[in-house]
């Protein structure tokens, strides 16, 4: 028993330490950081955070990121729900091949798409808008959502569909009123992963934006500039990017635990 606890505790400590270090740095001034390694801020300051909250070139980064992530999650789920239903309930021409093709897009290297997306979204006039990134992220999020949702939907017996049909529900009404509540856990898991993969992605988000829709990830990497690194500011920006993620995990933790048990795995 104690061996298990020890291993787990060591692992969790190893996971937390780098994050702690980031938080630690975010409350220090640059002077203190470059002076040496200290385990906690001896002269704690909120200056870094203040700067981020008051400087539009910083906080707009968060706004932009949250915008395209939200659009992408909604879009991905909206497309994926009917498609997952089709895969779950019917066989049709080319269904297996379509499923594989979809999954393979999840596995496509974004680097391959960087340049073509650059051209494509410039051509349709969506360059440097949250829509470009939201649509670009659909490349891998939509297949993932379909895959996850199909697993949950297949666990719902067909009899429910048939009963609703007999009871006179039209398909849209059945889907919204009856079916969706039954797969709520699955939608939660799918939304979680869409959020996660869109929020963390850098390459496409940076390639498709210049000024207006620049995500926080790109702004942070921009800080690798001439005048030396503003470590404290960078750390504060980093810490703030953790917040949506931590909130999301906290709120869906029960759904995830249940979803993991019930779903695809």
């Amino acid at each position: 028993m104690t061996a298990r606890r020890f291993i787990l505790a060591t692992y969790l400590l190893a996971l937390s330490l780098p994050i702690y270090w980031l938080v630690n740095m975010s409350f220090k001034t640059n002077a203190e950081i470059t002076a040496g390694v200290s385990l906690w801020p001896h002269a704690p300051t909120l200056a870094n955070y203040v700067r981020i909250f008051t400087d539009p070139s910083w906080y707009m980064g968060y706004v932009n990121s949250l915008t395209y992530v939200a659009i992408n999650t909604v879009l991905s789920l909206a497309c994926a729900l009917p498609a997952a239903y089709a895969f779950s309930r019917y066989r049709f021409l080319g269904d297996k091949h379509l499923f594989f093709w979809l999954l393979s897009n999840r596995m496509a290297p974004p680097a391959v798409f960087a340049l073509p997306f650059f051209n494509l979204y410039s051509a349709v006039g969506l360059f440097d808008t949250p829509w470009a990134i939201a649509l670009a992220h659909c490349l891998f999020n939509v297949p993932l959502a379909v895959w996850i949702l199909e697993g949950f939907m297949s666990a719902v017996p067909r009899e429910i569909d048939e009963t609703a049909e007999i009871d006179g529900y039209s398909f849209p009404r059945f889907f919204v009123r009856i079916f969706v509540p039954l797969i709520a856990n699955g939608i939660g898991v799918a939304a979680f992963f869409c959020f996660m993969f869109s929020w963390v992605e850098l390459l496409l988000a940076r390639t498709l934006t210049t000024v207006n829709a620049k995500p926080i990830a790109a702004i942070m990497t921009r800080t690798i500039s001439a005048a030396g690194m503003d470590w404290g500011l960078l750390a504060a920006a980093g810490v703030l990017t953790l917040v949506p993620g931590a909130l999301v995990i906290w709120f869906v933790r029960n759904h995830i635990a249940k979803g993991f048990a019930l779903g695809r795995v």
Partner: protein
């Protein structure tokens, strides 16, 4: 048995359209570029398989750097899988079964997974430095000369440990889900049969974990094969090109040098390789599922 109905295509249409737009269209332009060369000024002429031949020729400049990057990726994926899979299984075996402890453990474990990849890079960029990072200072304090900016081995070490920190939780959570699915009766029967801990692991837990491990290994292999942001932020591909992986090299070629033909050819071969791996795993998984269904 599911009914056969081609009208289901109507339901699939939105997904089909979106992914077509996101995937096929761009790929078509890539294919287009890959078989052309340019004088500049947007004037292109047919080059056939020229770029591909150059890509796969180790003696050419393009081929040399492509194969070197490919080699680095394969070594990298091999190493991180060898670490993350056993470690993930071990952590999953140590996780609590239920209760508030489980919720806390899951939240802490999920945290690295939700850090934006560039911030992962930033965290380790700082953490591993000797002057401002705890880890870097500690290692150097032990007498080991550790500097990832100047030393290729140190750079590799940093990139690997960063990936392990970042992704082990995914394997652990997947394995945990797989373990939870094992009914208690199996453990009880094993006790009655007098099986020791290792026998329980080998005969009950590991077989039941096969499916989640296939998924986990696939995801990790593919994602590590595509890795871009994290090493880019920490080492920028260096020192020299010690940590220049395929994606980093490709982006340099495409968006840095705007060498469209070469980049396009490389993109296609790169994509083809991931498709192949995907197909292999997909087949393995459907076979595992079919075997399971035959029995139940």
């Amino acid at each position: 048995m599911k009914p056969y109905d081609n009208r289901a295509w109507l339901l699939v249409l939105p997904v089909f359209a979106v992914v077509l737009f996101s995937a096929v269209l761009p790929l078509m332009t890539v294919v287009n570029y890959s078989v052309q060369d340019s004088f500049g000024n947007n004037q292109f002429f047919w080059n056939g398989m020229g770029w591909f031949r150059e890509l796969l020729d180790p003696s050419s400049e393009l081929g040399g750097r492509f194969l070197a990057a490919l080699g680095r990726n394969l070594v990298f994926s091999g190493i991180i899988l060898a670490i993350e899979v056993p470690l993930g299984i071990l952590v999953a075996l140590c996780m609590p079964r239920r209760g508030w402890r489980l919720a806390v453990v899951m939240v802490v474990m999920a945290l690295p997974l939700l850090v934006p990849w560039n911030v992962v890079g930033t965290i380790w960029q700082v953490f591993a430095r000797a002057d401002i990072g705890l880890f870097g200072a500690a290692v150097n304090g032990l007498g080991i000369d550790y500097n990832y900016a100047g030393n290729a081995t140190a750079a590799w070490f940093t990139v690997i440990i960063m990936d392990v920190w970042h992704w082990t939780s995914l394997i652990a959570l997947l394995c945990y889900a797989g373990l939870r699915a094992i009914p208690d009766a199996y453990y009880q029967a094993a006790r009655i049969d007098g099986a020791g801990r290792w026998a329980v692991f080998r005969n009950i837990e590991l077989p039941k974990l096969k499916r989640v491990l296939v998924i986990g290994v696939l995801l990790r292999f593919i994602d590590s094969f595509m890795i871009y942001t994290e090493p880019f932020v920490v080492t920028g591909g260096g020192p020299g090109n010690a940590t220049t992986f395929l994606s980093i090299d490709l982006v340099k070629l495409a968006l840095g040098q705007f060498d469209l033909g070469k980049a396009a050819a490389m993109s296609l071969v790169y994509n083809m390789m991931t498709l192949l791996v995907c197909w292999v795993f997909f087949t393995a998984m459907t076979q595992l599922d079919a075997a399971r269904e035959r029995v139940e």
